[in-house]
């Protein structure tokens, strides 16, 4: 498969995954913060096509669960009352893409609620929480990585192009940041910030915090490329013709960094999603009840949850395809590095 094809495939996979999360309101049957207090820790309902009398149904259906008397979290399937799935059903209000008011959901039932991935301690739908939680975690990763790259790109370009004292100062600061244990730095920064913040503020705080600690590595990479690019013949020639610094950077030097930046982005995004999850897992991220993948995972800190409710692990599995997608994309991008392209170009200029 050609490189271009591979990249396209991975982008397609990632696009689809992100599309699902972006339209979480449509794919999720319920509001992720709504508590169904009668059904805590309900196990996932299985989709059936064949009922207890061996009749085949074309429309998938589920059996509801009944609490076993005298227990808190032991449920039995009630096979007497199958409830079939309805598609494209009107339900809870939500905002498509964050602004369009909508009520259409991919699936649901008429009467009782269905929980395809079970419920948590408050009877909140895990499927909805995972989907909506992805919005927070992925957006934090994307925004954080974007911010980091922007900072790294600017600082790296300035340091590499202007060199001298400016380069020294910037690179020593970068080294300082590289040497810091980032997790503890995140804690320290988060601890200084106000405690009572609303979820939106908390979200942007996290993004800012994780972006602020990560800019050093991309800055060094960009600086290296800028350093080698500015000594190339075509750059010297342009300089000889009187091109300004800004023109050189914009026209000749920075375009050389694009492939490195893209690869970095593909590596950084999952890393930053993980960083958000770490913060939320430790209770420093977006506050409950707003779901994020880290918040969902933090339920697993309790031993009783760990050994009793296996479906609480699903939030850990859901990030796997996303990470595979990003890492696949990163390796496809890296397959033919920019250096090779430049090599051929300089050979061409020799001939």
């Amino acid at each position: 498969m050609s490189r271009r094809r591979k990249i396209a495939n991975w982008l397609l996979v990632l696009g689809a995954l992100h599309g699902i999360v972006l339209c979480a309101g449509f794919f999720a049957p319920y509001n992720p913060v709504e508590q169904d207090r009668k059904n805590p820790y309900l196990p996932p309902m299985r989709l059936h096509f064949v009922d207890s009398r061996k009749h085949l149904h074309l429309r998938p259906f589920v059996y509801s669960f009944q609490l076993r008397p005298g227990t808190f979290d032991q449920y039995v399937e009630d096979t007497a009352h199958p409830r079939s799935l309805k598609f494209l059903i009107t339900g809870d209000r939500y905002r498509m893409l964050g602004f369009l008011p909508a009520r259409l959901h991919l699936f649901g039932t008429d009467s009782e609620r269905i929980y395809l991935l079970g419920t948590d301690a408050f009877g909140r739908d895990q499927l909805s929480r995972i989907l909506f939680g992805g919005q927070v975690s992925l957006l934090a990763g994307l925004l954080g990585a974007g911010l980091t790259l922007l900072m790294g790109w600017c600082i790296g370009a300035v340091a590499g192009h202007f060199g001298g004292g400016c380069d020294d100062v910037l690179m020593r600061v970068a080294e300082l940041f590289l040497a810091l244990p980032w997790l503890y730095l995140l804690f320290a920064i988060r601890a200084f910030l106000p405690l009572t913040v609303n979820p939106l503020q908390a979200f942007f705080l996290i993004v800012a915090v994780i972006a602020a600690v990560g800019w050093a590595r991309p800055a060094r990479l960009v600086r290296g490329i800028v350093l080698s690019a500015k000594e190339r013949d075509f750059v010297r020639a342009a300089r000889g013709f009187g091109a300004s610094n800004l023109y050189l950077l914009r026209r000749h030097i920075l375009p050389e960094t694009s492939s490195v930046l893209l690869t970095q982005a593909a590596i950084l995004i999952p890393q930053y999603v993980l960083a958000e999850m770490t913060l939320s897992f430790l209770g420093l991220g977006v506050p409950e009840p707003v779901p994020s993948w880290g918040n969902l995972l933090s339920n697993l800190q309790q031993y009783s949850v760990l050994v009793s409710y296996w479906w609480m692990y699903l939030s850990a599995l859901v990030m796997v395809p996303f990470f595979l997608g990003y890492l696949g994309l990163a390796s496809a991008l890296q397959e033919r590095p920019g250096a090779y392209k430049m090599e051929r170009r300089s050979l061409g200029s020799l001939a």
Partner: protein, 599 residues
């Protein structure tokens, strides 16, 4: 958080004399000989007769800080000190009634001001030195000395004056109070009798606080409790051995305790305690959370877990009603205007889904409460206290009466706003180490959301939470819990009195801020010196009713006391009072004790 008006303390460090004697003393033949010793008056306990010997292992959440009852403030220290010390009169944790301990009998004068206590004969500290009235005098002298800063001191000031202690003879001590004390002999529970022969010199030198650290030499201290110090391994365990001079025996005359050794393992948290218990490393477990209880009860493999019923812990929500003065930020002043509105608090209480808290937080192993006295308290609950069911309609009506109104947002969600048109928005603090209370706060958050209030839950490390609530007073609302150490109302005195340090919504006031707080102060002070139970009960009921009306503490739920023990542990009867499983440690025994001891 635990409330101990005077933090109950007991403790001691002992030396390792008579190692190996213990099993010998415990032998029935020797026990018989001891009984005939006319110098000794052992207290004979009823109940199942057990085997001697063996070691019992329990876990502690973290290391105790000290073995010195004069400075112990943390629950772990108190738990260890509790098995190393003894008091004059003791509260039986199972019956919640008083019974003789070091004092074999006592008389109270008709005016209720003079208590005459007669000590047991032949009492000895765990280092073999005799104990008599001089030790009692010394102990109370130390507790009352201002330079000692003992937490017990507050308890010994009755009617504004310290108790006067006099010695009549070597066996008789008289306590003189300025005012009658309603709880009577319960006063003496938990006040450890200190060894004068070891502590007098350090006391004169003002060095008492330095004594009793875990790593100090064992002969620095001696106690009258069933166990004494053998070994301390920092970060790992504390090993206690049987006190051969202990002053209790079982019904066949065996000197107690049955066990040779009691080991406390230090583990970091509740989950680690469960894992250690499940793997058989520890023999007992207490203070189990409901979720861990159900994990353990699912496969009871060589052990049994027990639900001892509702305890004395009460969990509640409260708002910041402190007088913050003019300097408080405008935002905070606006919020406090809501919080001070009684109808606002009543509305919050009406909206709180207590049944859901009991079901979701305690898995049904708890009780909804509307007052400070929990169902676990057998004598002091007010039966007339209203138990209104959850009603959002009533809550909305109350808010409307108080001048609040609602606006509807673009998504159809309604937002509560005050008379000035500002949305009602505040945060609730919870302790980040307490998963139960975090869950309670999450349920309340959802309940109040239904009233249109925007609530954020902020988990905080417990120390900084306490600091915010009692010192800096920078908070809106907080979910907390208190476990009374005794069923008597006086154990919660600092919650009731406006001058109390745990009068959480507005602690340590110089004058009661509101008329109803003043009335509660009067009622509580009156019941403290009332003579009969009926009089006290009447006054206390009234105080409970006032608190229920003004809702300065919005009571939520009380968890059951859940504990577990290996099937090989005999006489295991968890109580709802602290220490839940070790209260009868002298009677605990291993059913295969001999084999264990031989290992």
């Amino acid at each position: 958080m635990r409330n101990y008006p005077a933090i109950v303390a007991r403790c001691r460090i002992l030396f390792r004399l008579f190692l190996g004697f213990s099993a010998l003393f415990c032998h029935p033949a020797f026990a018989h000989a001891q009984q005939n010793n006319s110098n000794e008056e052992l207290l004979t306990l009823p109940g199942e007769v057990g085997h001697c010997g063996g070691r019992l292992v329990v876990s502690l959440r973290g290391e105790p800080k000290t073995l010195n009852p004069l400075i112990a403030a943390d629950a772990r220290s108190r738990e260890v000190i509790g098995v190393m010390q003894a008091d004059l009169v003791h509260i039986n944790r199972a019956t919640q009634l008083i019974e003789p301990a070091l004092a074999k009998s006592w008389k109270i004068s008709p005016d209720g001001l003079t208590y005459t206590l007669v000590l047991r004969k032949g009492l000895k500290f765990s280092d073999g030195q005799p104990m008599d009235a001089d030790d009692v005098l010394f102990s109370f002298h130390v507790y009352l000395d201002e330079n000692t800063h003992a937490p017990q001191r507050d308890l010994l000031i009755v009617g504004g004056k310290p108790i006067v202690v006099r010695k009549v003879d070597a066996q008789t001590v008289v306590f003189q109070m300025a005012k009658p004390y309603g709880a009577g002999e319960r006063l003496f529970d938990g006040l450890a009798i200190l060894p004068r022969h070891l502590l007098e010199q350090p006391f004169q030198e003002g060095k008492l606080a330095q004594i009793g650290s875990l790593s100090a030499a064992a002969n620095q201290w001696a106690g009258l409790g069933p166990f004494r110090l053998r070994e301390y391994v920092a970060g790992q365990r504390l090993v206690l051995e049987r006190n051969p001079y202990y002053w209790k025996s079982d019904s066949t005359g065996n000197r107690l305790p049955y066990l040779d050794e009691l080991v406390f393992l230090f583990v970091p948290n509740a989950d680690a305690q469960v894992l250690k218990f499940q793997s058989g490393e520890t023999d007992l477990i207490s203070q189990l959370g409901a979720e861990n209880f159900s994990v353990l009860s699912r496969r009871q493999d060589g052990y049994t877990v027990t639900d001892a019923g509702p305890g004395l812990e009460y969990n509640f929500l409260f708002f910041n009603l402190n007088d913050l003065g003019e300097k408080a930020p405008a935002d905070m002043q606006r919020k406090q205007k809501w919080f001070r509105e009684v109808k606002f608090r009543q509305a919050v209480s009406a909206a709180a889904d207590r049944e859901a808290i009991v079901r979701l937080v305690y898995q049904g192993r708890g009780a909804a409460i509307w007052g400070l006295v929990t169902p676990g308290n057998k004598r002091w609950g007010d039966t007339n206290l209203p138990h209104p069911a959850r009603s959002l309609d009533r809550a909305r009506a109350l808010l409307k009466e108080a001048g609040f109104s609602w606006t509807t947002g673009p998504n159809g969600e309604s937002t509560l706003q005050d008379s000035g048109g500002k949305p009602v928005e505040f945060s609730i603090l919870t302790s980040s180490s307490n998963a139960d209370r975090a869950k309670m706060a999450a349920i309340l958050q959802d309940d109040l959301q239904q009233l249109g209030m925007r609530v954020q839950v902020v988990p905080l490390e417990f120390r900084s939470l306490l600091d915010r609530v009692t010192q800096s007073k920078e908070y809106d609302a907080c979910v907390m819990g208190i476990a009374s150490y005794d069923a008597d109302p006086n154990s919660d005195i600092n919650v009731w009195l406006s001058s109390g340090g745990t009068h959480l919504w507005n602690p340590s006031q110089t004058h009661p801020a509101t008329p109803w707080e003043a009335e509660i102060d009067h009622l509580i002070e009156d019941q403290m010196s009332a003579r009969t139970f009926d009089q006290r009960k009447k006054l206390y009921d009234r105080a409970q009713e006032i608190l229920a009306e003004y809702q300065s503490l919005i009571f939520l739920a009380s968890p059951d006391i859940l504990a577990g023990a290996k099937n090989s542990v005999g006489n295991f009867h968890p109580a709802v009072l602290e220490p839940y499983v070790l209260w009868n440690v002298e009677q605990l025994y291993l059913k295969n004790g001999r084999e264990n001891a031989a290992q």
